[in-house]
Structure formats: structure tokens, C-alpha cells
């Protein structure tokens, strides 16, 4: 068993208590007829999440699109206005056949992306999803000002824990469901509200 991360210097555990996630419950019920779904996890590596997803997936793809957002080389600063290198970020995705993914865990990626990159990243993920595939992500409520560095992990298929609360201010305004819906060529958006200030959003292709 690997050591559990996230303990503070004082020895207290900063993680939120595991809470049943209605979004995840819906997701796994929706996917129950897929015995071994192809899953893509776009978040930082969490060993607990990995163990849960490996128990349920046929094939698990991993490509962290969240941690690289801190890298300065993702911005072209040779121009007057810095330009985000969306393709450099998307290079962090593993090779995945188009229309092959049943489930994508995007976590809070969409809240962290520069707005000019949002459409391209969302469309790339959408392209990799099979018809009926689901993107699970977390979107902050406008009232939540800090938490850009938050991290989540799964404790069981439907148990969602914040491994790190996050104290960094969000770089961009909160996204509405309508904005997400507008960027997608097909599909629908389903939202579960929570008390934590994060919406659990499921985009179904």
C-alpha cells in the first residue's frame, strides 16, 4: 500500500471527508452496461483515484492537462500579448483513437484554461469521446474565489474527496453551463449542485 499524501505539517488531514457524489453516481449508473469502459483521466496523478479507476476500466488512459498549466513555456511571450500554446498542452494527451473513450475525468481543467484555449481543448476531448461518452468535470460557482490548486481523488466509484482544498485564486471568471453547451457541436450538459461551491458537470456526447 502506498503512503497516503496530503497530510499537513501539524499532522491533521486537510482532505475533505469523503462525500457521496451524485454526479459520479449518475455517471457509473449510466455506464453500467459498459463492462470495461475506456477511461481518460486528465488530472494530476492520485494513487487512490488510479486504484479505483483501474478496478473499473478496460483501458485507462492518463495524460495530465492540469499540472502543466503552471509551466511558463506554455505561453508564447515573444509577442506583445502573450499567446497560450494550446497545442503544447494537448501534446500531454496520450495517443487515443477518435471516438473511443467512454468516460473522461476532466476535474476542474475547464476553470483553469485560458478562455482562448477552451474551445479547442473541449473539442479535442469531445472528438476522442465515443457517442454517448461522458465528460465529468467540476466547475466552480462564481462565489468561489479560491481553489485553482484544489485536487480531488476518488474513494470508491462514487466517493469524491478533495485531497487539497486550494488557496490560489481562480485566473478566469466562472463558466456557466450555457457557455460549455455553446462550445459543443453535439450533446447535452447535466449539472449536480453541491454545497462545496463546485458544480459537478457531466457533458454527454
Amino acid at each position: 500500500m502506498l503512503a497516503r499524501p496530503g497530510r499537513s505539517e501539524a499532522g491533521t488531514d486537510p482532505r475533505s471527508a469523503p462525500a457521496p457524489s451524485f454526479g459520479l453516481r449518475w455517471l457509473w449508473q449510466y455506464a453500467q452496461d459498459i463492462p470495461r469502459p475506456c477511461v481518460l483521466d486528465c488530472g494530476p496523478i492520485r494513487s487512490a483515484t488510479l486504484a479505483v479507476l483501474l478496478g473499473r476500466s478496460g483501458r485507462l488512459y492518463r495524460g495530465d492537462l492540469i499540472s502543466p498549466l503552471k509551466r511558463p513555456d506554455l505561453w508564447d511571450r515573444t509577442r506583445k500579448t502573450p499567446v497560450f500554446r494550446t497545442e503544447a498542452l494537448l501534446a500531454e494527451l496520450p495517443p487515443v483513437a477518435p471516438a473511443s473513450l467512454s468516460i473522461v475525468f476532466g476535474w476542474h481543467l475547464l476553470d483553469l484554461l485560458p478562455r482562448e484555449a477552451l474551445a479547442e481543448v473541449l473539442l479535442r476531448i469531445h472528438k476522442l469521446m465515443e457517442p454517448g461518452g461522458v465528460l465529468f468535470c467540476l466547475l466552480r460557482e462564481p462565489r468561489l474565489e479560491k481553489g485553482a490548486d484544489a485536487e480531488w481523488e476518488l474513494e470508491g466509484l462514487t466517493g469524491l474527496t478533495r485531497a487539497r482544498e486550494g488557496a490560489v485564486a481562480f485566473p478566469y471568471p466562472a463558466l456557466s453551463n450555457r457557455e460549455i453547451d455553446r462550445l459543443l457541436p453535439t450533446g447535452s450538459v447535466k449539472t449536480f449542485l453541491t454545497r462545496s461551491g463546485w458544480r459537478e458537470v457531466l457533458v454527454v456526447k
Binding site: 494513487s47 483501474l54 483501458r59 492518463r62 447535452s188 450538459v189
Partner: protein
């Protein structure tokens, strides 16, 4: 210095330098040390990665990527563990014989926009 070629052995192997090619240690353990840089396909009973691997990794039992590990490629094993802080880009396929974890009862379909 980089060693290139096909490496097979009937004992445990530790890679601490640069290697390109294939490593086949089917019944034993391969450990890629913190200084190890491997561009190759690895087949072994168990594989532990502290360093860097680029290529397909197949283990009959377990693949263990430690905190300092940096792996790009496809993993296939009966068990895979990746420590928080490690880098991994690729796919994981678990070799198993059992059934899928039971899922809860199915809800009404067709989600609605909210």
C-alpha cells in the same frame, strides 16, 4: 554512455544508465534506478521505475512507478501502482480474470440540460 540492443536475463536486473532496445526478464524483476533512462520495451515479472522509461512495459505481476518515475508508454500488468508526484502519460491495461465491479442500478437515461 548509452547501451543499445536486446537484453535478456534469468535474474533480477537494475538499470542505472542509459539503455535503448528491448529488455526481457520474464521471470524476474527489472528496476530502473533514479539515474536510469530507458527507451525500450520491457517485459518482466515485476517492474519498478524510479527513473525514466519511454516505451511499452509489460509485467506478469506488477508495475510500480515511484514518485521520481517518469514514464511515457503503454502499461500492461496484473497490477499497476503509480505514486503521487510521478509522471505518466499513456495507457494502462490490467490483465485480469475476474468480473467487473458491480455497478449500481441504472437511472433514467437521456440527461437534460440544466
Amino acid at each position: 554512455m548509452t547501451i543499445k540492443g536486446e537484453l535478456s536475463a534469468k535474474e533480477d536486473l537494475v538499470v542505472e544508465g542509459q539503455f535503448e532496445g528491448t529488455i526481457d526478464v520474464a521471470e524476474n524483476t527489472v528496476t530502473v534506478g533514479p539515474q536510469g533512462q530507458v527507451k525500450s520495451e520491457i517485459r518482466a515479472r515485476q517492474i519498478v521505475v524510479h527513473g525514466s522509461v519511454n516505451g511499452k512495459i509489460t509485467a506478469r505481476e506488477k508495475i510500480d512507478i515511484r514518485r521520481t518515475g517518469n514514464v511515457t508508454g503503454d502499461l500492461q500488468a496484473a497490477g499497476v501502482a503509480i505514486e503521487d508526484g510521478a509522471y505518466f502519460k499513456g495507457s494502462i491495461e490490467i490483465l485480469r480474470e475476474g468480473r467487473a465491479e458491480a455497478a449500481p442500478a441504472r437511472p433514467p437515461m437521456t440527461p437534460r440540460a440544466s
